[in-house]
Amino acid sequence: MVLLGFRYALRERTRFALTAAGVAAAVLLTVFLVGVYRGATRGSLSYIEESGADVWVGRRGTWNLLRASGLIPVEAKQLLERVRGVVSAEPILGALIPATLSDGRRTLLTIGLPAGASLSRPRHIEAGRAMPRRGEIVLDRAFARRAGLRVGDRVELAERRFRIAGISRETNLLVTQYAFLRREDLESLLGVEGQATFFLLRVRHGQGHAVVKRLERQSNLIAAFDRVTFLENNRREIASGFLPVLAAMALIGLSIGAAVVALMTYTAVLEKRGDYALIGALGGSEGARFLVVMQQSLAAALAGAVAGLAILHVLGRVLPAVAPEVELVVEPWVAAAAVLGALAMAAIGALIPAGIATSVAPMEALRR
């Protein structure tokens, strides 16, 4: 059948544009939030995932990288390396340290690296070196951009100045960023000595789970996690803060989008009430009239979703300059899901108007 609904939609260009704009705003809001969440998750997990560590060991009570709940003496390295299946153990010290910038203070998730660190150094380096020397620091790209810092510049952490040795990528957690010092430097900032928050273990192939069990049996002072579990713990930490807000905002966005579609489609149906009666009088079933209404809202939703994604694409290009901390990660499946979500939203929004169109009596075609 001729795509009558699409014709109606395109004929009333202002209404079509307004409906599409409502859908675009809903899609933009939702995909933007999902993109920020995915960006923060990637920033948080990439460091753990790509470290090459098979097992993470922390003080008992610790369950992810952001919430280390105590310290372990670095001498434990020898004990850990004696455990069956363990190949090497690398201690790191982690702490949230404020950096002083010209426009105020910002907190960095600072990792103190041991000399010759192989597992714990940042993996993606945009400029300079991955491994800092004493008195040096490796900063995240977003933090450096926000502060206007480059390799060779100096930055103040807890009233001590460090020379920037490198700029890293995929180390941005949105609310904070990773920074990497030598462990000795971080110990001196914290006023501790010979301490670690985590040990990163390399184990023999396929021994991760067994090593975790052995470590837990040998000491009740430590918590050990295989890589998958530790990643999941960190993902949950990000999600617990982010997902409720994301879900609420997405729901609000989709509800507003559906309301816009419903309102616009409703007025379109009222204006064309005579046509729906005519279609009935010409032999059109209720289903045919339902489809005509659905076509109108789906056309607007499709246009709106595409417009929303296009705006997001532009935003993704502009964002690093204006808000470098906000890293958008929009995978193709997220974009596809957004389009499908917009179509579903439009279909839901069009249900009441479609119900009205199908209930118009064909007899009305005879009324003047």
Partner: protein, 240 residues
């Protein structure tokens, strides 16, 4: 009774409301195949209600209606729709063309609503428009057509489904005298060529003059007008 006969038997219609309105009262009539029939009456006399009941768009409050030997009064909605698709077509006073569609698309719409493939529907609608002298107007939208052309497109839309009964509601009311006469002739020719039956309600005296049979309706009740050369209750045509 022939296969395309329309028959009313004691049909009444009351619209309920704070003050109920009796639109038709005890109407009995029989319309036979291949005839051009005109029902005349003043505004509010029940002409349109009669047409709507004949076309299965309204159900009567009392009485029974037969269309092509099927009693349609109590048919379920789905079967009524199928019957309308198979047997009926409407022509409306104000053309009722869909303004976002071209003339060709307007004519092919009822075919496509009946499940005819788009290509075949377009071909048939082009042939019908050509037959009615609108071959050069197939891509025009209603706003680009004159009143007479619009009504011819509406007649093409009615004829393209090859209905056995054409129900027309004041088809000349919005047209000037000359154009109205052309439309009347077109409807007459269509019934003659295709063996279809036409029931036309109208104020227009030109229609009554060209009708095979005519009948008057006042205050929802029929009264005999006779016919053009035949008795109103004679064989064929409208019998009351």
């Amino acid at each position: 009774m022939s296969a395309c006969t329309l028959r009313f038997e004691g049909v009444g219609k009351v619209y309920p409301g704070a003050v109920s309105c009796r639109a038709l009262h005890d109407v009995s009539l029989e319309v036979e195949c291949g005839t051009f029939n005109v029902i005349q009456g003043p505004s509010g006399s029940g002409k349109t209600t009669l047409l709507a009941i004949a076309g299965g768009l309204e159900r009567p409050s009392t009485g029974r209606v037969w269309l092509s030997e099927r009693e349609i009064t109590s048919l379920p909605a789905r079967q009524l729709l199928e019957l309308r698709r198979a047997e009926l077509a409407f022509v409306f006073q104000d053309f009722k063309l869909i303004d976002v569609l071209t003339a060709e698309e307007n004519v092919s719409l009822p075919l496509e609503l009946r499940g005819v493939k788009a290509g075949s529907a377009r071909e048939r609608s082009r042939a019908m428009l050509d037959h009615l002298g609108l071959g050069g107007r197939i891509s025009r939208r209603p706003r680009e057509l004159s009143g007479g052309e619009k009504q011819r497109v509406a007649i093409a839309r009615a004829l393209v489904t090859e209905p056995r009964l054409i129900l027309a509601d004041e088809p000349t009311a919005n047209l000037d005298w000359e154009t109205g006469s052309e439309v009347v002739e077109l409807l007459r020719a269509a019934t003659r060529e295709r063996g279809a039956t036409a029931v036309v309600v109208s104020h227009d005296s030109r229609l009554a003059l060209r009708a095979d049979y005519q009948i008057g309706i006042v205050d929802g009740a029929l009264h005999r007008n006779g016919s053009n050369g035949q008795a109103g209750d004679g064989p064929g045509g409208i019998k009351t």
